[in-house]
Subunit: 434 residues, 2 copies
């Protein structure tokens, strides 16, 4: 077996012990023993594909396939190796393994390009062990914030201690001499210079149902959605369910129900990539014979463009205020997150689109509602992202599934992308000479 189907099959191999902390089901946390064994195996696959393999100071696995000239800037292909608890096998590793397949295909043909290809297996994207997500791509992009020394896992093990006790079989590349030890002090030395990188490409399962519903294997991500998150508290009057007549009630739960539907309606009416969700909803006191006096709920709003998102948020805010006043309820609406959109690079998207067309794939652009390493890397270099259909839109779940045939098509498009990038770089260097 070769190509995309092999990449998918290798995800299945990584879905069990010793590559999972669980015997049944998958959990691969950052800097756990399962992470260690996974680095060994994936690193071996990288070597087999013709790459030189190191670990970077943030415990990212880094394979490099040299270009025609040693030290050339690299196209980086990457995704993450960690998983959530009881997660799926393809979320992350599939993108890493497809990167390895790209290199394997070039290596089979003994082809070297004017740029190197590097494959990153990021150590942490999910916040799989520490309460901070995308720690390791942020180290690469140089966008870490906060005090790393204060980060500790649920058992109280600090990031510093976890790094120090992680025995690696690879050289750890730092600015100074190589070592076989990880150290929080050098964590940020994982940072790369923009001049070293041509661009970033990530293939990832969609984690949503859109491609499947439209019968498409692939989609081109136009960007990571801009997101707003609200925490809402709605106060009415608690009362006895038997003794409070209907007209005299100030039922916070019924009021909140109207608000849930208002949120949904605003998003539906937009009929775009905009989504809005009430996912958390808690009624107090929460007894069958007591009218709820208080409800707390979340609102999550995302769209490809911040302007669209903000128009919807304004419409939702106005509607909620109206609904609260109609029922004599007290509304408290607190904005808790405001994340800007991260658009993908237009030039790289064009290369992907052209490769899609050549592979006979209908063109489908979509916004990613979830965050990915590509969003982080876009701060460092031009980034592009390819979504692969997943069964029933299910992810973060053992039932997560990708068809091997879809992985094959994804690989074909990624290779087409590399071919086009090659022509573009050659064209540009020709242009430079004239």
């Amino acid at each position: 077996m070769v190509g995309g189907a092999r990449a998918a099959a290798r995800c299945d191999v990584l879905g069990r012990a010793p590559y999972s902390e669980f015997e049944h089901g998958l959990y691969r946390g950052y800097l756990t023993p399962a992470h260690h064994t996974t680095l060994d195996l994936v690193g071996a696959w990288m070597v087999e594909a013709g790459m030189h393999v190191d670990l970077d100071p943030a415990a990212n696995l880094l394979g490099r396939y040299e270009g025609q000239n040693p030290g050339a800037p690299a196209l980086v292909i990457g995704s993450h190796l960690d998983s959530v608890r009881d997660g799926g096998r393809y979320d992350g590793p599939l993108g890493v393994l497809l990167g390895i397949e790209c290199v394997a295909a070039l290596n089979d043909q003994q082809r070297r390009l004017p740029f190197a290809i590097e494959v990153y297996g990021f150590g942490d994207e999910e916040g799989s062990r520490f309460p901070a997500a995308m720690l390791t791509s942020r180290a690469v992009a140089g966008t870490l914030d906060g005090d790393l020394a204060r980060i500790a896992d649920a058992d109280g093990v600090s990031l510093a201690a976890a790094l120090a006790s992680f025995k690696t079989d690879y050289d750890v590349v730092t600015a100074s001499t190589p070592t076989r030890r990880l150290d929080l002090k050098t964590f940020e030395a994982a940072r790369r210079s923009p001049g070293d990188i041509v661009g970033y490409l990530e293939a990832h399962i969609e984690q949503g149902p859109v491609l499947e519903a439209e019968g498409l294997a692939l989609g081109i991500v136009t960007g990571i959605a801009a997101q707003l998150r609200y925490a809402v508290t709605l106060r009415g009057a608690a009362g006895h369910a038997g003794t409070s007549s209907m007209p005299l009630r100030r039922d916070a739960l019924a009021g909140a129900a109207e608000m849930v539907l208002a949120v949904e309606q605003v998003a539906r009416r937009d009929a775009s990539d905009l989504v809005a969700t009430v996912g958390k909803f808690e009624a107090a006191p929460g007894a069958a014979n007591v009218i709820a006096g208080e409800v707390r709920f979340s609102i999550d709003i995302r769209a490809g463009e911040a302007a669209r998102r903000d128009r919807a948020a304004k419409a939702i805010e106005e509607k909620l205020e109206l609904l609260a006043s109609q029922r004599g309820l007290v509304l408290d609406l607190a904005l808790v997150h405001d994340l800007p959109a991260s658009p993908c690079d237009a030039a790289l998207m064009q290369l992907l689109e052209s490769a899609m067309a050549e592979a006979g794939q209908p063109l489908r652009r979509l916004v990613s509602g979830a965050g990915h390493d590509a969003m982080v890397m876009s701060a460092l270099c031009p980034a592009a992202m390819l979504f692969i259909r997943c069964k029933d839109g299910v992810s973060h779940n053992p039932a997560e599934h990708v068809e091997p045939g879809d992985a094959d098509v994804a690989l074909e498009v990624m290779l087409g992308f590399i071919e086009r990038l090659n022509r573009k770089v050659l064209g540009e260097s020709l242009a430079d000479r004239t």
Copy 2:
């Protein structure tokens, strides 16, 4: 101070230690030390009002004011002496103390009637200590079910042990010889014979906002509402809040929100005494970035007539099934309670109404949405019930409040009721003679 205002003031006295288990706030559980001190004080007030006082085998305080002939059947006036934790001062005791005031008024005039008056201070109505409500009025009515020997409080103290260790200063009246000890074996000897009782009258705070909203001091209870309780489970599909487009969602929370509003709308449209409430509502997994895959909620429906209640329940069931099918959700609707209505006695209600009219009180009939000892006693004898306005409809709360003036009016109506019952009994006995 005399009369209704004194009864209300005495409730305030009973609202503190040593009549409460708490120093600040009120908790008077069945067979607790606070219950014991309360029996001593309320019993003393009964004696002062001219009654003979005993404890019955269920630890109900029982004062008797003889009629013209010793051993005559009695009008029973009662309510409960126990409270919920952090409860209000009037819920229960006010009805007992108003009963004592009725007797005190007759005793002041040295009047004896063709029937005796008995005042019951029931030991347990709230389920204040053991996980079983109205234990002691059910003992009197002879409607206990289940195995009393298995009942224990949260600390594992059995009802049997609590009874055995309760030192009483009163004679405990059983069928055999009086004793000063309580015993689970004789608990059911609290049962009374219908022939001993003319009727049952209970005054109680409304525990709802209706009377206050209409500017009325009193209301006549037509019955305890018939009640249905459902446990509803609604299943959709969990999904990522960012990656699932609006048209493809099967959002259990949004579906449940529609159902909450449907329940409310059916009850509002009925524009009667019918009430319907969703008070418990739990969404899973309950995270801001995850579309809810499952929601569990309660539906509580009550109305004076079972037929009205059942029509509403049918309309709600049909609407919920329609809403579930429109959204592709799986609905599971389980009936968990079906309690029949307990109508008050028509003849006794007429006497109350006539007394209300004489007292210049507008006539307002209402259904009691909550259960009361009167509901239990109606299995034994004709029962009637008077509701007294409470501030803001608040009960089971330290803020519970009754205006002394309202208690005065309640006493006036209760005395008018006794007067009318007297005339009725005299008329009947005259009729017997002709």
